[in-house]
Symmetry: C2
Amino acid sequence: MGKVICAGLGPGDPELMSVKSDRAIRGAKHLAFFRKKGRAGQARSIVKDMLREDVVEYPMEYPVTTELRFDSEEYRHLMVDFYTEWADKLADLATEHDVVVLCEGDPFLYGSFMHLQTRLQGRTEVEVLPAIPGMVGCWNAIGDPFTWGDDVLTVLMGTLPDAELEDHMRRADALVVMKTGRNLPRVRRALAATGRLQDAWLVEKGTMPGQRVAKLSDVDDADCPYFAIVLVHGQGRRPEAAE
Amino acid sequence: MGKVICAGLGPGDPELMSVKSDRAIRGAKHLAFFRKKGRAGQARSIVKDMLREDVVEYPMEYPVTTELRFDSEEYRHLMVDFYTEWADKLADLATEHDVVVLCEGDPFLYGSFMHLQTRLQGRTEVEVLPAIPGMVGCWNAIGDPFTWGDDVLTVLMGTLPDAELEDHMRRADALVVMKTGRNLPRVRRALAATGRLQDAWLVEKGTMPGQRVAKLSDVDDADCPYFAIVLVHGQGRRPEAAE
């Protein structure tokens, strides 16, 4: 009897994955990973120099979706079928072998692996190896402490409605905005409306080849990189009594 | 010329530190770490089986403060002197050697190293190695995905005033509360007031020997462990259009 091991990869630099994930990946005889059809896959690229020669690979290719709105019923059904099918395959493989599933960032922080984990519950042993979240790699790339003292840190998705973005941006000290991409102009407007734009950074491909760190206010409006995170540092809020 | 390398240790399990931190620590000839006077020190304990035989150690012992309120002027002066003195010593050492400074969790997320980094600026090269934050180790220990979809994640300090705790607890989907300890009864009341108590977990010594994972509602009122984090999972909020 084997098990399914979800190995968190961290922010992108292979040296930043944990000793435990590193060992699991180097020893893997069966390796599964998500990717878009026709692409090498970000996760697979991170581990490219770490694999055994005799590794058996299982690229889990997301169904082609460019023609479908991601909020359509059709897209939902495609995704449900996709995850169900792969959960079945992994459960089947795990009756005989350990299978390592790659997951960018930390698997439990907005990770796709959860869709498989839910469907594997009670069918096979699942071990999840934590990792440095992408946002941690991004604030490390900027080079300054991100939060200290009593700072409130809030992590937001750029897909949230404007009013919610602004509400949280006003109340939090340190901010992380993920899923930027085509939402970046809205994120920028919300930051401006709440007086946070001048302190905002854009980090693209944090800790990876091609890494770019820029003040968001210096980034062109039309420039909406896909794999980017927006960050605003906390200011080191202190308990009132200490002021 | 050497440099100061701040090696993030992650949540506590030595296998969860990055390959890069692992290598820096195993190779360190000069090793500095914070600890309370008379204690082995949490950071030093994590690396105890990783050190060279000929390593030179620099325990940076926090000034004794049990007699002083942490918000007093006297305490502040003691701490400023402490950090200034150690920044001087590290800058001096780094003129000849690399010095590795240990830091629990991720150094840029509420880490103490920042007080040294500020004082080392422009005097010596400083490299900071990111790590898995303590909270990531804690939600991994619970075993379920912590956030997905469009969940808003907020990280709070238990030292915040009640009204602020409640305000953020009402608005966020997933919650992390650090600096619990003697603030735990207040944190518990704020969670109850906002309807989040039944979903809250307490994780003590996450990923370390003696780890304890409990529903907060099952923990006795008088039980306020020092090294504990409170977590409430997100529910997987979806963009409205997809409902």
